[in-house]
Symmetry: C2
Subunit: 423 residues, 2 copies
């Protein structure tokens, strides 16, 4: 067991009962405050532990960290140091926050500077994203979409069970939780219309996804096997792959989604390490037909992470509209990375690889409005009496996620985004 | 007229008759030598003018350049200074190289350090590429593909004449001329096979494209109109969008090309500025049906750039296998950028936007092997007596391009890539 994952650990920092950020989590992020420039921090309870301060004041000595490694706009350089180093840092932070360790606990002046209340900080993008890929790895989601738009009897396309289908997305428009988005404008064409028209999307949707972030390069021309994949994965975030369905259906043939997706993707700002998720591994679904040898894998590669989507109308209450789980993925992250690099494609530090919409078997586990309201035929009822077929102006969409076992909750915080009217 | 474009200008540097790099061109690139770290240079004849040296020795004083602007691995920061500054630098370099200017001409010690023979330098990636988009803007190419794979009577899909169709490509695997590639491996499935198989691609192809590089940000949520687009475009390179056709046909439904393309894209290393191409503007084809208002434009937005593809078998001679022209594009770069941002998608400095395969009306002007050998039915004959349906191991593919008028040739140099057997 990784030292910092020990369920018996307790911190001297008070951690509220249902906090996403107990001492067993210790996710990394980039924050700024009124007084501090952007820099790296770790979440603990309702606080952010300022890594720049710890590093500059000797608390991280002996770990071989380059000078100024945390005093940066992005975590890329830190993550790129490799898992051995980042794991050692997480273990050392665990030690410093341990209730039995007095180094920081009993050093009141240092403690008061090092711990910053979350509500005094703004979370920024944790990494600069050199490349972003979106997979399509939930069988339920692919089946639902195929049923709605193609043939219910042949909902999955012939390649789907052989390939972890994916495509390249837009890296520039990935934004952190809390940044509002504008409803995108675009070309759409009604099936019976002669010509397309231009205007704000009428079918704005979210997609509930998770994304992994890579921390190691393979170099162009080299493949990563399913058994090597985890060396390359630093951690995970929640990922809202905003989608304009009416734009998508008109533009996507033959080269895939483009303007329907690239106006924004929103992420939760804390990167939960793959290390912290170790205790929550579960087996994935059986894969039939048998996959090609380069996609075979050993061990439990799915993760039991409960996921929720909430929708809050302007000035209204938050409504839970989806309960799903990361464990439903048909294709796991090891397979995704092995497939992505089997042709020699090169992975870079900070890349994001999103799962695709995570839908489960139950109707309330579908990870998009398109599926939840079944193409508009089953509107979602909200607590204020209103209904939704798609996301409306003024709505805030919130995604949350956590893994829980043995009284330990490893949470992701949230990704919260308000939709403003088209500019 | 831009000062540096004057066709009557002559340089004191000897420029061979058919050189791509007369004093009217002055493209920017990043080079290194045995003695010099990577830094910015400008091509003149068979030489590279070392901008770091010029800058550090006062030759570029008065232009308001930040310290160390050329002593960098990439041109992004320089390009991001804006067109007013980059244009002023090009004009000043033109002045320094002018036969009538004695500043550098008669300063032998400086001249000998500042001018580096091209054959003593290695050209590197000119920019770090934050985002890469590939369009599909040649009507002839889209028609050829549609004819071969779909319905000859309805070769163009319904959206093609309404949308400059594009998709996101992989930025990490864009490499400069001179870097060999390995034949990619991947999943393919023969139409009559029951299951897919895995192995080296048997249908490796090139795509003759050009790409523009952006030098200005719009900011997420803001659109760029067709009339504003040129403020955002710094310059152009030749672009070889390597494609594994057998992988592509199996993987691309429904989300577009992925592993078929992301193993490598090769570019020419000199960025020819949009300024240098000004004299070569021509009208594009008439667009019918009428495009939506946001895609309308005024003026001549196509460029008359002659393009060539050559194929050189291992140890053999170079064979010209394609003569095309950038002017054939149905959708112009202004329309591409306006479309890309109409939903608020944000452009970054150093982004590459490739044209899509540039095919013309004549059979020898098709920009891919797929089209030239018409899906393998009309093999290309080479001078050594061999034939090609697709690119073979050991083949080198070379793309060249230049614009020419009034005795002035504005050339792109070349992108030259050898294909090695699969790893």
């Amino acid at each position: 067991m990784i030292k910092a994952n020990d369920p018996s650990l307790k911190s001297w920092v008070e951690v509220p009962k249902y906090s996403d950020f107990p001492i067993q989590n210790l996710p990394f992020g980039i924050f700024k405050t009124q007084y501090l420039d952007p820099g790296a921090g770790v979440a603990i309870g309702d606080y952010i532990l300022d890594l720049t301060y710890l590093d500059e004041n000797g608390f991280l000595d002996g770990l071989g960290l380059p000078a100024g490694i945390f005093n940066q706009q992005y975590l890329n350089t830190f993550i790129g140091l490799g898992k051995e180093t980042t794991r050692a840092v997480r273990n050392r932070i665990s030690e410093l926050l341990d209730a039995n360790n007095d180094e920081l606990r009993d050093n009141k002046p240092a403690r008061e500077i090092a711990l910053i209340p979350m509500d005094e900080a703004e979370m920024l993008m944790p990494v600069r994203v050199p490349n972003y890929t979106d997979f399509y790895s939930s069988e339920e989601h692919a089946t639902n979409v195929g049923t709605m738009f193609r043939d219910p009897d042949n909902a999955l396309l012939p390649n789907w069970k052989h390939i972890p289908v994916g495509y390249h997305g837009r890296a520039s428009s990935i934004i952190p939780s809390g940044v509002d988005i504008y409803r995108p404008k675009g070309q759409t064409k009604a099936p019976d219309a002669e010509k397309p028209t231009f205007g704000p999307s009428k079918r704005l949707d979210f997609e509930l996804e998770m994304a992994f972030i890579t921390g190691k390069e393979n170099g162009l021309g080299n493949s990563i096997s399913t058994s090597e994949a985890e060396e390359y994965i630093f951690g995970f975030v929640l990922f809202n792959d905003w989608s304009a369905r009416d734009v998508q259906v008109w533009e996507y043939v033959p080269l895939g989604p483009f303007l329907a997706k690239n106006f924004a993707s929103s992420i939760s700002p804390w990167i939960v390490t793959m290390d912290a998720l170790e205790p929550f591994r579960v087996a994935g679904p059986e894969q039939k037909p048998e996959v090609l040898p380069y996609l075979k894998y050993q061990g439990e590669k799915n993760f039991d992470v409960r996921l929720q989507v909430l929708l809050q109308p302007e000035g209204g209450a938050e409504n839970v509209i989806c309960n799903s789980n990361f464990k439903y993925m048909y294709w796991n992250v090891n397979q995704q990375l092995a497939h992505h690099t089997v042709n020699g494609c090169n992975i870079q530090v900070g890349d994001m690889y999103a799962s695709g919409t995570i839908s489960g078997p139950a109707e309330d586990s579908y990870g998009s409005m398109l599926e939840l309201a079944w193409k508009g035929t089953k509107p979602i009822k909200l607590s204020d009496g209103s209904e939704r077929k798609f996301v409306e102006d003024g709505d805030t969409v919130i995604m949350k996620g956590y893994a829980e076992k043995n009284g330990v909750r490893i949470g992701f915080g949230e990704v919260r985004t308000k939709v403003l009217p088209a500019k």
